[in-house]
Amino acid sequence: MRFDQDAYWGLGIGASISSRIPVVGPWIVNLLLGGPIIAGATLSRFFALHVFVIPGSLIAFVALHLLLVLKLGINDWPMPGRIVRRATYLQEYHELTRKDGIPFVPGAVTKDLFFSGFILLCIAACALYFGPFGPSGQPDPTIIQTAPRPDLFFLWLYALLSLLPPSMETPALLIGPVIALVVLLALPFFSGEGEKSWKRRPIAVLTILLVAVTLGTFTHLAGNAPWSPVMDAWSGEPIPAQYLQGRTALERQGALVFQAKQCHNCHALGGRAESADQSWIESPSSSRRINFIRQVIQGGGNMPGLRKKLESGRNDCTRRVPRNAAPTRAGGGS
């Protein structure tokens, strides 16, 4: 409901994921957005979901859950060596509560009340301290000066999608969740009996640890976004004099171009980068020279084409780049 830039672009990504579903994709996008694009109908649709459908079903499910807690009891704590059997579990539980049970009020409710109060105080304290989150900029697709980011609990997905090779995106997005859902739904059927203590279930413990570490790692990666180019070369500083001494006039003119066109956002001067790239820029041999010129003119990889920026003759542009200029990052000048 925070209809802002983050929401707009996040929804755009959600819609484009849905559109990749074979056959029914476009129909699902239409259902989701109330049309082919994110517009007024989209917000009304999500408002209805958010205000009526989701809270209503949550209330129903919570009520059902509480009824089952009353009828079937709470999950008794697992003990190593105590085997749970479907056939006898309920009978054993009710016998236990009859022989050694205490009434819920006041026996068990005191700690519940204390903890609930504590949680409410924590939320109020966080709300006081952090204040409202968003909205970020206006949800306007014509504003492109934006860096939308998902909320904390979706950051792992953001990192995963950024790091996956493009060919893997559709299978991972469409098959992965289906497998996860099927496994979770099937789990009670093939693993509902036997040892329930975590001490006797190393695979379960390792699975949870693996999931936690994976999600934590992806969330951390999303915070750093290492897949975006890092513009931490010596931008802004003038080209050091040592690179200009003993150069031809044309090379010095090249240094000016290098400075003025922000080449140094990605390219370093001196031997700071991988030797292969360095020699490539230092002295392109005749066979690689044509590739070099094409790269500078047309761009490619992370590098923008510079045809419009370099007005004069094409053959000059190689000599305009100062010697020893090389990418600071692998792939930065590919």
Binding site: G73, L113, L120
Partner: protein
């Protein structure tokens, strides 16, 4: 006193709620589950109710239209009394809800961490 009792009896006779409520409150639970490991479920219920309350408060002022939604959030943040406080309460309740319900689920597998197994009757 007698009047209050009469009125109470009349309501109970019409609504039939006293017995189920009493039964719910007094339903027996295993002695060892009166433990700090078992408080997350009720905490989830509490923050869910907080969500309902704050959600209703926000819905009073939020305008669900593409042109107005963003502005109504700005008004909530900056002009409405305590709007800046209710919005993060809602967000905090949403996060606590997911944390509490997943903690409840984890507890159902890991609760012996906080219970001493020796205190279990019959073990």
């Amino acid at each position: 006193m007698r009047l209050i009792k009469n009125v109470g009896d009349w309501f109970d006779q019409r609504l039939q709620l006293a017995a189920p409520i009493r039964e719910t409150m007094e339903h027996p639970v295993p002695r060892q589950t009166a433990s700090w490991a078992y408080v997350f479920g009720s905490a989830a219920l509490t923050v869910f109710m907080l969500q309902l309350v704050t959600g209703i408060l926000l819905a009073l002022l939020y305008v669900p239209s593409a042109g107005e939604a963003w502005n109504s959030l700005q008004i909530l943040n900056h002009q409405v009394a305590l709007g800046w406080f209710i919005r993060p309460c809602m967000a905090g309740a949403r996060i606590s809800w997911s944390r509490s319900s997943s903690s409840t689920w984890c507890r159902s597998s890991f609760s012996e961490l906080t219970n001493s197994p020796g205190s279990l009757p019959g073990s």
